[in-house]
């Protein structure tokens, strides 16, 4: 069922068993799991079925820390959420990402990788990915053109990525949800506050507000906030009727530990012995799987570094490669979103490149683009701005910060790669100027992957996290969070696969 919430009368009350706030990757994956089950699900989406400027501008925020992408351009506020313009990069987090690492402050998940594996496998189907197998050998055996570089894999080895078409959740799953008799989708239903009982231990309802001031309340037994990391933070901090510091924020943890992936060109390489690079090459919209390079777990432990990968990208003909933020201004992202609204188009695909040995001999140079986790940092945080949006909710005040460990890790990765490539006769590695210095300096062009992570992190101890291992908000018996905000550490992998896997795991938990 579907209802445009703007048609509801002021003061209307909607009731269900499970209320999911937000219909992006997490919210839709979660709702799909309830189709045909006994629970009555209310799915609230703030936007409609396509982008609307007035709604999108609700995501505008104040950026006070390190320069970042305009917040209203980074995330999409309509049915399908940011899957409306995502690129489709998928990989599971590595087992080491879940561990408590003595050299990474605040690291460690309350769950292990093997507990997520069954959900990763299920998430593959939703994201239209290939087999849930990320062993490099598996992919080399499937295509004779794929060849390994002669690496010493005790030090540096491959990590595989798979690529979703990319699946647009809004297009692909709209009909299934609208047709479901036990799922009621409300669009244009922006939640502005979470109402609890007097002790703030139980959520009784969420309040939906329209631009004209009318309000609707949604009651349910269980609630899931799946509005994206920053919007979940806003909603928790803005829900101050019972607790002045905000819901789930009794230990001042909501909004802290915000993380991005440091996704940016940081160097280059030239290969000295041309070989097939089909295993490592990537053409957007064409490549189904490819390898990036990472330091082995043992090497990360020995060097006390964060987890990261390095991708081989086609080097520009001249000049230097722009950071990911610089290379993709908001107007380009909007063009990509419009052109690929339902599926990838030929116009948006990269031209198909040749990665055979002969072609590599002609162009042996690649840009090296890193994908690195940042260390969890309580000072990297999202709070509320003094400015309010058109619905009266305080905007996000965004203060992204990095640490010395982040810089040292990237430098260690590239110097290790340089030494290994030289030692093994593979090639030579060039570091960007700012990476040559062993200091904490980052250039203004530092960029990320548009990945909002942490800020409502998972931890067994309420003093160190917002949700428990089941994604339930500490101290609130029936409120759960979904999305990248619950990640305690970011790993190097793009987050969508893990976000969907965690949503499926949460669905199982809520149904038991």
């Amino acid at each position: 069922m579907h209802t445009d919430a703007r048609a509801l009368e002021n003061g209307a009350i909607i009731e269900g068993d499970v209320c999911i706030v937000g219909a992006g990757a997490a919210g839709i994956a979660l709702a799909l799991e309830f189709i045909g089950k006994q629970e009555r699900v209310i799915l609230l989406e703030g936007g409609g079925f396509d982008r609307e400027d007035a709604l999108q501008s609700l995501y505008r925020g104040e950026i006070v820390g390190r320069a970042y992408y305009p917040l209203e351009s980074a995330r999409l506020h309509y049915f399908g959420g940011t899957t409306g313009h995502w690129g489709g990069y998928c990989a599971p987090l590595d087992p080491i990402d879940f561990e408590r690492r003595s050299w990474v402050p605040h690291s460690g998940w309350p769950i292990a990788r093997h507990q997520l594996d069954p959900f990763y496998a299920r998430a593959h189907a939703l994201l239209d990915l290939g087999p849930y197998d990320y062993a490099p050998d598996f992919w080399v055996q499937r295509d004779s053109r794929r060849r390994f570089l002669p690496l010493d894999r005790a030090i540096v080895h491959e990590k595989m990525w798979q690529f979703s078409p990319p699946t647009r959740f809004g297009s692909k799953y709209r009909d299934a949800l609208v047709r479901a008799s036990n799922v009621h989708l409300f669009t244009h239903a922006n939640v502005v506050e979470v109402d609890t009982n007097e002790s703030a231990g139980v959520v009784e309802a969420v309040r939906v507000r329209h631009f004209d001031g009318r309000e609707v309340r949604v009651r349910a037994k269980r609630f899931v906030l799946a509005c994206s990391t920053l919007q979940n933070v806003r909603l928790l901090l803005a829900s101050t009727a019972r607790v002045t510091t905000g819901l789930g924020n009794q230990h001042d943890t909501v909004g802290r530990y915000y993380m991005e992936h440091l996704e940016m060109p940081a160097g280059a390489t030239v290969l000295l012995k041309p070989q097939s690079m089909y295993l490592y090459g990537f053409d957007f919209g064409i490549t189904k799987a490819r390898a990036e390079l990472r330091l082995s777990d043992a090497q990360q432990r020995a060097l006390s570094t964060l987890n990261a990968t390095v991708a081989f990208e086609t080097a520009p003909e001249s000049g230097s490669m722009a950071s990911t933020f610089e290379a993709t201004p908001p107007e380009d992202i909007e063009l990509f979103r419009r052109e690929t609204r339902d599926s990838m188009t030929n116009e948006m695909r990269s031209p198909e490149s040749r990665y055979d040995a002969e072609s590599i001999a002609r162009r042996p140079r690649f840009a090296l683009v890193t994908r690195q986790e940042q260390a969890p940092n309580p000072s990297s945080r999202v709070t509320l701005s003094a400015e309010r949006d058109a619905l009266g909710v305080p905007r996000a005040r965004f203060d992204w910060q990095l640490t010395a460990l982040d810089k040292r890790s990237m430098r260690s990765l590239f110097t290790t790669l340089g030494r290994e490539f030289g030692r093994l006769g593979i090639g030579r590695v060039q570091l960007r100027d700012w990476l040559l210095q062993d200091d904490a300096y980052w250039p203004p062009s530092v960029s990320g992957g548009w990945h909002d992570l942490g800020a409502t992190r998972m931890h067994d101890d309420p003093r160190d996290g917002v949700v428990d291992a089941n994604c339930r908000v500490h101290g609130v018996s029936n409120l759960h969070l979904a999305g990248g905000g619950v990640f305690p550490t970011a790993g190097s992998a793009n987050p969508t696969l893990t976000i969907v896997a965690l949503a499926l795991r949460l669905a199982d938990h809520l149904r038991t």
Partner: protein, 125 residues
């Protein structure tokens, strides 16, 4: 004389330097060879790296000084006095294994291949 012997092998491109053989201070031949980077980065880039190395290494500004440094490194790389002198290619691998590297224009190079680039630069100027 040493410079003349080295330069005598240099033709129009750096690849021709493969024919060149320098001598160390004791008259022993030092096979400086063609920079392995020339094939991948091109002659102009190798010369640029050579110039950058010269700019950041005041103690090695001449062919003689560079050749002496390479020869010294080769002797040190010999496990025993009776062992054969390693080739420059072997010396470069050894440099990377031992962390005997240097950043030149951001490139992580073996110190001795950086000297090789500098020699190539001096040979063509």
């Amino acid at each position: 004389m040493k410079r003349r012997r080295f330069v005598s092998g240099v033709g129009t491109g750096l690849a021709m330097i493969a024919l060149g053989v320098g001598c160390d201070a004791e008259g022993r031949p030092v096979p400086v060879g063609a920079p392995v980077l020339a094939g991948a980065l091109g002659d102009a880039m190798v010369r640029q790296l050579g110039r950058a190395y010269l700019a950041q290494t005041p103690a090695e500004q001449t062919v003689d000084a560079l050749q002496r440094s390479v020869a010294r490194a080769m002797r040190r790389a010999q496990p025993h006095w009776w062992s054969p002198t390693p080739s420059l290619e072997q010396l470069i691998v050894s440099d990377f294994e031992k962390g005997h590297t240097i950043f030149v224009d951001g490139w992580m190079l073996s110190v001795n291949e950086a000297r090789q680039c500098a020699l190539a630069t001096l040979a063509t100027t």
